[in-house]
Symmetry: C2
Subunit: 531 residues, 2 copies
């Protein structure tokens, strides 16, 4: 508990100094932190059991301490109150999250990024890192769009254009994409200064629309709900198209939705395709979506936050065919690029697409400057592009391809195992590397096999799987995520609670997959049923 | 150049492994990175001279390398192509930026944050760090609002409320504040579902407004321009109120603006006060602004991204009097809290204020959960709250107070020096710790003293100071920022190019301040005048 640790007089300036004495202190601190990291990463459990409400009491002091605390003392607090009760994201038996443990060099680079503390919004506060970021964007742009080399020679480092925008994550990348789409569709025209200047009310009036909408699959990430809310379209302006039982958008339904929106006088700002849905890892028929978007003269955005890195694999990249026709593409760094959290990418096919969101301020971002802040939603931001730059060079195409191929292979393997076990039901064939399934207690197995589970049965199974999931979380040895599906073979009226295994940790072995299933079996046997 | 470095076959999985062999490799990499950091921090120049266009050629390859690269080889690339050409943000003679070099323990913690790689959007992907974040918010809330202890006991860790929101930076904090303000002002009412659901067009119609505006001083950060654009109000919806020659909002002008907006049927969503303007570090009369906002029934937001930490100082906190009446307050972590880039804070007086932006998704953020992602613009985000938690404990109130008091003292000292030197003109008395001044070549000094500089003279001085600033950047020994002022004693029609010194590096000594001025004098003498 922090309150039990005394405060020592300490000059705050000395913490910044870099003398021999402070260098020794810094080295000691680094040593302790290395130990903490090692202890943490060697933890066997996904999450050590503790009552979080009890733990919260250790963090209840609500006043900034008056005096200072030696860093070494603070590290003791971390050792006792924080590290043991954190989530072992890197555990090969933690299949719950879309971010994973990081390679050692990434962790070490994080210290470098903090030491440099460059501010990427402004070229003269980042210099070489500005170039790293632009090179990373160019490489990812080429991976997605494969434009001729001349385009990259022209635009990779050009101050007047950009091949993409680095954000703190996929949510901001998706928001930025729709911001661009809105401003392009309702832009300046004759005497009208455009929506960004005049606002949405005047823009819709000027262009004679009754509303403006974004159309995408039911599988869209909730960042799109945030985006349409923020942009003033309202959540009602997000029109959801049905998905099939593997989680892919139904393109016939898309065509019907587009026609209906047009018929009621709506401006279709964007059509969204998903390449790797959050729930199921499902990949939409992007080429067909691109065609519909083009015919509707709408911006085509692909949210490939999860699935983008399949493009590294010759074996799997065909599944994203059509992505090269997208006006914009989101790819997350912290997912299958294995970068630390805090970096998302928006790639823009047209190097001038970001002009519609460009801002200036007289203390920075002068016209013609190399300042990246001119075209980003965020202002000051860290040099996280270095992680991207490092990842692209150290893993390379083949490295990333091998990682994603292994993950897809293992997900198929897990699906096979689940299919073979009588007490599990596979809820969908994995479209990439996320498996959806549930536990079926013995009393329901005949109905399951006979295909006559009633709504009441599903409801009972849902409650059971929720309890199983909570028991698994409490035990803390293994972990998967939980979601509710509305598009299984049982039809849209039957919500199905699913266990969701994300297979992306390179260290997860077949034995680990078995261990997760066995842990769930053991826990299920221990649950009274019905409750 | 990267292309000249060979690629070695390397299993990507081995990069994740933590065996004895990989531990040795990781230790080697950490050693190299420690050396890189030490070399970097010992660099004397603010920015080593190089032609950035030439440097860009080393980053011109636009294809992801096919093979992998050993991390050690990649570090060689950093050593040659990145580190020497980065900005020495920590130099005590770099007075250009609002972020500074970090204490050693912060750099080391960055490695820990990456190693843990917790995802703060979701409680079961962050556990104890969720509690660190909430405690950090509670402490900062108490610093600003000083509510009774019972409020913190009730809300600090409550799932149904929040004392603030952690963002990637001040821009998103300001945006989130205005998002809350918009949604509260145009919220659900009887049969109307509210602006977030129905969109801005229907909301303004329902409430009978012709437009919705945000009112703030001319000194507002450009993040407000982004925010009103994004939120659909349009840049025209940002109404700027005149500031005086020290950069503080004129409250009489604010009252007139409010009356004018009301008269034309506009909904006043928010009044913005600035506590530490970007240009001048000026602090608005917050208490009077609060009164005007309350009378207008508008949300009162204070952007204290820069000035917030003055609250730690008993000596200076009175200058922010009235901030406790704000509905929301932005404070940046990377500025005067001395945290790494990537963390901004929005503090909310009402613990339920964020309800109007709350979202849910069935794969996370269940109602009643402790998931922080329910109420943040961003989705997945890193455990940067640990830096805040560490800073508050290690510096403590007294430590932060000492830092900010020293900065303000040194800024006053720099202002005195400038006043005493015949070849500089102080353009405004520093309101906190930013000094604005310019160089005046000898030929203009009589007019300056006689008070008869013409518009043509000012124009010539502007061009000269631009050239001087560029020469200083090119030389790279010392550095300040540059801005253009429109509110000096010379009147609003005379734009004045100013040198802008931000005094916040704890290691900057009086000798360093003199060295910056001397460097500018030397460079000025070397410039032909007129050009």
């Amino acid at each position: 508990m922090l309150s039990t640790i005394g405060h020592a007089g300490l000059s705050p300036v000395s913490l910044f100094a870099s003398s021999e004495e402070t260098a020794a202190a810094d080295t000691r601190i680094e040593g302790v932190i290395s130990d903490l990291i090692e202890e943490f990463l060697q933890g066997k459990d996904v999450a050590a059991p503790i009552d979080l409400a009890m733990l919260a009491q250790r963090f209840a002091a609500a006043e900034v301490p008056a005096g200072s605390l030696r860093p070494e003392r603070y590290l003791e607090v971390l050792r006792h109150d924080v590290m043991p009760w954190s989530n072992q994201i890197a555990s090969p038996r933690c299949l719950a999250h879309m971010n994973q443990g990081l390679p050692g060099f990434m962790r070490a680079l994080a210290q470098l990024v903090a030491a440099m503390n460059q501010n990427l919004t402004k070229a003269d506060a980042s210099r070489a890192l500005t170039l790293c970021e632009r090179q990373g964007l160019a490489m990812m742009h080429r991976l997605v769009y494969g434009c001729p080399a001349a385009l990259y020679a022209r635009h990779a480092a050009d101050c007047e254009s950009t091949l993409g925008i680095v954000t703190s994550g996929g949510t901001l990348a998706n928001l930025t994409a729709l911001w661009c789409a809105r401003n392009a569709a309702l832009g300046p025209c004759r005497d009208f200064p455009g929506v960004e200047r005049a606002g949405l009310l005047d823009a819709l009036r000027y262009y004679g629309y009754r509303e403006a909408v974004v159309i995408g699959p039911e599988s869209m990430h909730y960042s799109f709900t945030k985006a349409v809310g923020l942009l003033g379209l309202g959540e009602r302006g997000l029109v959801r198209v049905a998905i099939d039982d593997r989680g892919r958008m139904d393109v016939r339904a898309l065509r019907a939705t587009v026609a209906a929106c047009q018929a009621r006088g709506a401006c279709i700002l964007a059509v969204v395709g998903v390449a790797g849905s959050t729930d199921a890892g499902a990949i939409d028929p992007l080429a067909e979506q691109a065609e519909v978007a083009r015919a509707a003269k709408a911006h085509f955005h692909v949210d490939a936050a999860w699935g983008g890195p399949l493009l590294f694999s010759e074996k799997h990249r065909g599944r994203l065919a059509g992505i090269e026709r997208a006006d914009s593409v989101t790819i997350d760094g912290h997912k299958q690029l294995y970068l630390p959290l805090g970096i998302g990418l928006l790639l823009l096919r047209d190097p001038h697409a970001a002009r519609v969101i460009e801002k200036q301020a007289h203390y920075l971002s002068r016209p013609g400057s190399a300042d990246l802040g001119r075209r980003s939603l965020e202002g000051s931001r860290p040099g996280n592009a270095l992680f991207l730059h490092a990842g692209l060079h150290i893993f390379g195409r083949q490295g990333y391809a091998a990682l994603v191929e292994e993950s897809i292979r293992k997900a198929a393997l897990l699906a096979d195992r689940i299919r073979d076990l009588a007490d599990f039901e596979l809820l969908a064939d994995p479209d990439s590397n996320i498996a959806l399934y549930r536990y079926v207690p013995e009393a329901w197995r005949d109905q399951l096999l006979g295909g006559d589970l009633s709504a009441v049965d599903h409801e009972a199974l849902n409650r059971f799987n929720e309890r199983l999931h909570k028991a698994q979380r409490r035990a803390g040895r293994t972990y998967v995520a939980r979601t509710t599906l509305f598009h299984t073979r049982y039809g849209r009226d039957v919500p199905v609670v699913a266990l969701r295994a994300v297979i992306a940790n390179p260290l997860t072995t077949e034995r680990d997959l078995d261990a997760v299933l066995q842990d769930q079996q053991t826990l299920a046997h221990g649950l009274a049923f019905p409750a």
